[in-house]
Each structure stands twice: as structure tokens, then as C-alpha cells.
Symmetry: C2
Subunit: 344 residues, 2 copies
Amino acid sequence: MGKEKVAIVGSGNWGSAIARLAGMNTKKHPDVFDDSRVAVWVYEEEFEGKKLTEVINSEHENRKYLPGVKLEDNVVAIPDLKEAVKDATALIFVTPHQFLGKALDSLEGNVRKDAKAISLIKGVDVHGDDIHIFADVIEQRLGIPCSALSGANIANEVARDTFSETTIGYRNKEDGELWLKLFQTPNFKVQLIEDVAGVSLCGALKNIVAVAAGFVDGLGYGSNSKAAIMRIGLLEMKHFCQEFFTDVKEESFLQESAGVSDVITSCLAGRNYKVAAAFVGANKSFDQLESEMLNGQKLQGIHTAKDVHNFLNAKNRSRAYPLFDKVYQIAWEGVPVEQLTEGL
Amino acid sequence: MGKEKVAIVGSGNWGSAIARLAGMNTKKHPDVFDDSRVAVWVYEEEFEGKKLTEVINSEHENRKYLPGVKLEDNVVAIPDLKEAVKDATALIFVTPHQFLGKALDSLEGNVRKDAKAISLIKGVDVHGDDIHIFADVIEQRLGIPCSALSGANIANEVARDTFSETTIGYRNKEDGELWLKLFQTPNFKVQLIEDVAGVSLCGALKNIVAVAAGFVDGLGYGSNSKAAIMRIGLLEMKHFCQEFFTDVKEESFLQESAGVSDVITSCLAGRNYKVAAAFVGANKSFDQLESEMLNGQKLQGIHTAKDVHNFLNAKNRSRAYPLFDKVYQIAWEGVPVEQLTEGL
């Protein structure tokens, strides 16, 4: 077998932190990976009067989305998506979920048949009473197997190399072990579990819980309330997955980094948490706060809350998920945030 | 059957918050409880030139340990322990664990045979390779059944009546329901589970995890690391209980307020967490920090870490619990705190 050629689709805050790891680990395992190039598709934009791809390629740093963190010199920013994934055998998807559809439109039929993918995308794909994880969407559209990675991974902290863990859900163990080799470092511990759906859904649903935790802190309720909300959220996540997906493993939620740990870090320091806390009493919309606070990054929790609400509504099951429902009502229907804990 | 007469053994921060709830709920359920008196044993000390019992009884407020929070007028502070529990049928134990032995010495043979107890004490009773929860110690010494209560309950927040949850582990459901009636309010939700050992052990062991979380924040590692340490700690708690106790329920740890939620709140705002964070780089002993920071309250986590270390050492099982062991090593053996995450 030839060496694996890595391409990364997406280059925001998390995508850039992942590109740093992939650049290092391809060099660490030159027997497995083509270490001459980790291609990164970058949505071209202007940054301080230059093209962002040129900034990244000349300074080895994504100065817009991950400033202050150097990337290996084998990490190459490419503005053309098809060009970036050409010849790649290991594709990492790490775009905001709203951009995936368009990316797949241009990739369909243009990736190698023997490639494999991994999704780091947070969110779910909902149409009426039909719901899919993005790993399945990628798998179906491109005809290649897709794993999922999610965990307690605030991007800036992973980039700073403080002790962190993550979880990779795989469909076949060989793929899982390949992805582990590409991402694991002494301070970034990867756990493997045969549960693509569980890992993906944790990554999506925890952002709803993070919004609820932000509301609690915005209201000044204290840490007992926050802990209670996080526990209730974790259980709604688990029940949701067990009700609507088959073969999801309970331990993904309750024991893995993708579950309990990611709920914790997202409710302590994630962007969804921060913006939700700022929402309380601010008299501003989430759109306005997003543009003021996130420097071009996107909010996910309120959109996932809406997708999940639409899905549960179509199934007539909203009432079985009172916390998810309350987050939706507050974020989108003008329900006062003080009603958050009522009826939980 | 006569009405239940309530006595509370202990009157610190948490004991006083509990006395507030018991005072309110005996009045709310006068058919079940004698609402004329909730006796509280107070270890007599001087406060601002007066006896603490007199301050509590004249001002209906424990101005030393829970200032600013009024207690019902049926809550009566009593300096003599035997006098406080005389005639009581519902005994609540909420002393620091180091004071329990002496209290039981004077209570043995002096409580009603038809009484029942509940332990809110955090810690474990270790002698060599023998370990007991305090609910069992109380049950054996006094010959009455003992339940346990533990949860995400920072005392000052419960006293402020923000939304919180707790867990009661019972041996027979009737007792569980009695205790629920005594403690539950619209903003303090009680869950019942038939697992006295699990609930007790959660309350004890989470303080070791809180010390570790304090170290992480003292080191400035960020929230991914903190979430990882909390996850690892939660799993060591679960494994410890499953290895050394029979019939402990997994959900006590992973799904109840006593488990995951209490780990969260204790690692965000508990006293063990705060003192451990201050320990990093302070060049002061835990004893010194305790007396400077806690206004007479006691640290529990480092003592539980030592008890658990002694027990695991006697069983030759320390290595199976690397986080518990590391907390002990750092707190008691001078191991540098920077080594916290090594080998996890």
C-alpha cells in the first residue's frame, strides 16, 4: 500500500489546530503518511490586505483563526477545494456544518475510491422527521467510509498543547487506528470506540447544553444549578440517541471524552456558552452577538437546538426533551430566559 | 404512629442550610413531622462575644457558618448532644467526618430504637485494608437504619434557593420517602435511589477529584484539561466502588446528582477545589491555607485522599487508581504538582 495523503477540508479555529497536529504526526510517522504535504482547503478571504492562503503559506500560521500558533511547514493552504483533495486518501472534514453541503457538491465524484474520511463537524442534518449525522452524509455522498472525532477540545487549548483527551468513533478498527496515529500526541490522548453515531451526536447535542449553561451563568444562578443543567442535558443527549439511532453506546455519553468531558469544557469555556451567557439581559439577538463576539466564527448551539426542535416536533416528541425544548423556546421564540428551569 | 421528631447533628455551613430546609418542611408537613421543634446540636463556641447557640436561637441565623440566611423559628440550637437527640426519631448526621466518632460515643445507647438516620457526612472510615461508609458506621453503632444524601449542593447556593438537585440513597423505600419529604422544595429536587453505598462514596471521593481540578486551575491548564481530569476522576470513583463494595449502582456515579453533578459543582466552586488551586505556587501547607481561607470550615479532599491511599496501599491496588494516587502524592508526599497528568 502507498502512503496516506492527508487533506483537511476547513481551516477555522479547530481546523487549524487539527492541521497543526496532522503536520507534526505525518512527520513523526513517515512510514504511514506522505509527510511532504498536508493539504488544507481554505475558504479564501482577505486578511490585513492579503489573501488568507498566502498569509498561512508564508507565515505558517492561520493569523485570522488561530493567531500565535505555528504550523509545520508541510501544511499547505489551498483555495481550490478540488485541488486540495486531489489524490488524498485521508480526508478530514472540519467546516461549520452550514458549509458542508456545498463542499460535497463539488467533491462528489472527485475523491479517490480508496479514500477514507473523518468528520469533526458539529451538528445534525434534519429534513422533516428524518435525521442524519454528517459522517453518514459524507459516507453516502462520497462513497467512502467516514469516522468521527469529538471530545473536550477547546481549539485554542489543544493548540497550546495542554493535556486534553478526545474520542474517535470508527466503523472499522483499521481506520480508527490510522486516525489515532494522525492526531494523538503525548498531551492529546485519543480514545477509540466503535460508535460513529454516538460520537457525532455528542459533538452536536452538547452545544445545546452549553447554551443552557450559558443562560444559567447569565442569570447568576451559581454552580449547583449549572451542574444540574449539565446532568439533565447529558441525559437528554443519551436518551435522544438511544431513541432515534440504533447501536449507540451508552458509554460514549457517560464515560468518554466526547460525552461527559465535552459537555463540561463546552459549558465552562466554549463559544456557545459564552454567547448564551452574554445574551441574558443584553437585549441583542444571537446574530448580533455572534458578529460582535466571535471574530467570524459561527455559533452552533442555537442552530442545532432549532434543527433538533424541528425534528422532535415532526416526531411529536418535544415534550420528552424539556431542556432541549426550553433552549429552543428561549433562543428562537422569545420565551423569557428565567423560565429555563421550570418543568425540568 | 406518632409524628417524626427531627434532630440534626452538626451545624456548619451545610448543616445550617439543611436546618433551613427541615424547618420549612416540618411546617409544610405537620401531619408527618412534629413541627414545633427541629433540634440542632451545635458544637458550642464563642462568636462575637456570645455563645453561638444563643446567637442562633435569638437571631434565627447561624451567623458564623451561614450568615445572611434566616432559619425558621422552630429550629433550636442545643449545645448538649444527648439533649439534642433525646426523643428524636429522624436523625440527620452532618458533622465533619473527623468529629463523628466522638459524637457516636456519646449517642450509643441513647437514641430511640425506632429512630432512623441519614448521613450527609463526606468521607470514608478506613482501618488497614478495611473500609466503611459512615452510614454503615452509624447503623452499626446505633442499631438504626441509615440512609445517605449527597448531591451537587454548594451549601450557600442551596441556602439562597437557586435551582439544585440532590440524591438520597435509601435501604428501604419508606425511609427514602420520609427524607424526601423533609428536604425537597420546588427548587431543591430530590432523587431517590436504592444505593446507600454509591451515594455515600460519591460524596467522599468527589472531593479527591475536586482537589485535582483545583491543581489544574492553579496550573493554568485550561478547561480541556480540567474536563479530562474530572472524567478520569469520575471513572476512578466508579471503579473503586465496584471493586470494593457490592451492589453499588453504576448510575449513581454517571447519572445522578450525587455523581456527575456533584463532581462538576465541586470542581467549579467547592472549598476543596478552591484551596487546592491556591496551593499551587503558594509555598504554604494545606493546614495553613485551610485556616486562612475557610473561616473554621474543614478541608476534606486531602484527608479522603490519604484515607483512600492507605486503604489502597494495604490492598496493594494504588496503581489501579493513578489520579487518586497522584493527588495523595502531591498533597502529602511533596511530589511537584506539575506531575499531575503524567501517567494518566
